[in-house]
Every structure is written in structure tokens, then in C-alpha cells.
Symmetry: C2
Subunit: 136 residues, 2 copies
DNA sequence: GGAGTCAAGTTCTGATTTGGAACCTATTGG
DNA sequence: CCAATAGGTTCCAAATCAGAACTTGACTCC
């Protein structure tokens, strides 16, 4: 968890990653969608690239212009985001419309994310787990 | 996602929630484990309580002393954390030992978290989803 | 009975980080 | 020539954070 937070633990990083995953890949587009300051966006994109979640790709030569594409590690965050979205829907409802709708690619039906233990097939909840604290 | 980040979107909040979920519930214990400053810990606990993820319980009268217990909403974050842990293990390996081990309560075996769509039973990945951007 | 300890904070000060706005560079379109 | 587009960088003021000390009330040790 601490490692995860060292990468995504600030107000903007995860929203930027989300946008790139969902198709918004250019500096100005991300900046406008999120209302983030350009300075901070520039910094966060560099961090995401340094951590290997985004890849900076030049899409034209002169003037040089770039897009930010999620890497495999970045794409791997999609299920985590869906789990998070499921949690928000269950515990922090709102009236505001979501900026994106995530659907099943085949059926175009809404998704009901659930986290399971693939060893047992059972869903993971606070009461299904046992926690051992390692000595300091 | 934005709503989620408005609650947990900083370096400490999620680590504090994790500690309370995993049995560390007192101010000084959390402060020592995380190395967070007391000032910020005090503030984050108040926020977590205000957002309904933690409940402040008095466990002795004089002098008044309190523990922070996760609410239902707080406990609901366990699966999200497991999904996140799975992502970290897959994409950000390290040598450092984890401060906690999370096991299946029955079998005491390690957990292999996976996020599925409970409508279809299929696992959710970047390529299994379809994203529609809502007009601004 | 004074000295030390524990728990849960609060207060203070100086260092970082952030937000907001303007500026810079290169190229294309009218 | 002038404006627009794209991707940044630079500057300053405001908000936030780290580090350390202080507070309060009660208990324990000598």
C-alpha cells in the first residue's frame, strides 16, 4: 500500500492516469478536463513516466508534440479503479453525473465490480480475511 | 474516482485507514507505525471521521482516551486495498518485507486478488471494458 | 511527594508544495 | 500579419507539511 501511495498518493495522479486510460492523452486536453494547473500536470506526467505507468510518445515532428499512453503497468490499474468505483457507488453516492461510463466491451452493459480470491473463488471482504502484523 | 480521491487522495489517509482496518486503532500507535507527524494525523483522523470511514470511540473515561474504528464504509475498502496490493505485487515488486500479511481467514493461505464483473463472472481488464466519455 | 511515563492531542515555526496567471516557442490557417 | 494550437516553463502568493516542543490528566516508581 505504501508503495502504491508513493506513486498515486496525491489529488491528481490517479485522475490523470484514468484520463489517459480512457482516451484523453494530450497535455492540454487533460489540463482542461481536470482543471489542474499546467505546472503540476507537467510534474505528474513526468512522475508517472518515471514510475513506468505512462509512456511519452511523439505523434508529430515539427513542432514536436506528444501523447501520454498507459503502459502495461498503467493498464493494470483498470481493475483497481473499477473496484474503487464500486466502493464509491456503494458508500459515497452522489447526484453528479460521472464523466465516464465504463461498460463491458462485448455486451455494452454496466459492470458490477467485485474482488475475489482467485484461489478459492470467494469474494474478499473485511470478514473473509485474516491479518497478521509483522514484527517491526 | 474524483470522489474517492477527495477522501483518500493524499499520502497518509489510506495508510491510516489500512492500519485501523488491520488492528492499529490508537493515536500514538498509528503515529509510531507510520512516522506521520501528530498534527497531520490528527487532521486526517478528523477527515476520515467526517467522511464516515472511521468512528471515534472512547475506551476509557478519565483521562478520556479514544480509538478509531472503521465503519461499514471503511471496511468496504478492504477489497479495494487487496486489488491495489495485487497490482503493486505484479507491477512494482520490491525486496522490502510487507508490514502486514493478509490471508484467507479460513485456510490461512495467501490471497490472490482478482477483480471480476459479477454480472458476467469475467475478470475485468483494460481490454475487457468499453469506455464512453460523457459530453461536458 | 517528586520524577518519569503514557495517551491524545495542540501549538509554533520554517520549509515544501500548490494554485493562478503570464510567458515562451514553433507551426499552421486565414 | 495576426490569431490559434500545443506543450511546456517561470513567477509569486497562498496553502500545506514536517519537526519539535508543549499541554492535560492520570498512573507508577522510588
Amino acid at each position: 500500500m505504501a508503495r502504491a501511495m508513493s506513486v498515486i498518493g496525491d489529488r491528481w495522479t490517479l485522475l490523470i492516469l484514468r484520463d489517459t486510460l480512457f482516451g484523453v492523452r494530450r497535455f492540454d486536453d487533460i489540463q482542461k478536463r481536470l482543471g489542474i494547473t499546467r505546472h503540476v500536470l507537467s510534474d505528474r506526467l513526468k512522475r508517472l513516466e518515471a514510475h513506468g505507468l505512462l509512456e511519452r510518445r511523439q505523434y508529430q515532428e515539427r513542432p514536436p508534440r506528444f501523447e501520454y499512453h498507459p503502459t502495461q503497468a498503467g493498464k493494470g490499474f483498470v481493475p483497481v479503479m473499477q473496484a474503487m468505483t464500486g466502493w464509491v457507488d456503494a458508500h459515497m453516492p452522489t447526484d453528479k453525473p460521472a464523466p465516464y461510463r465504463v461498460l463491458d466491451r462485448e455486451s455494452r452493459a454496466p459492470i458490477a465490480p467485485k474482488v475475489i480470491d482467485s484461489n478459492t473463488g470467494k469474494s474478499i471482504t473485511a470478514s473473509s480475511v485474516w491479518v497478521e502484523t509483522n514484527k517491526d
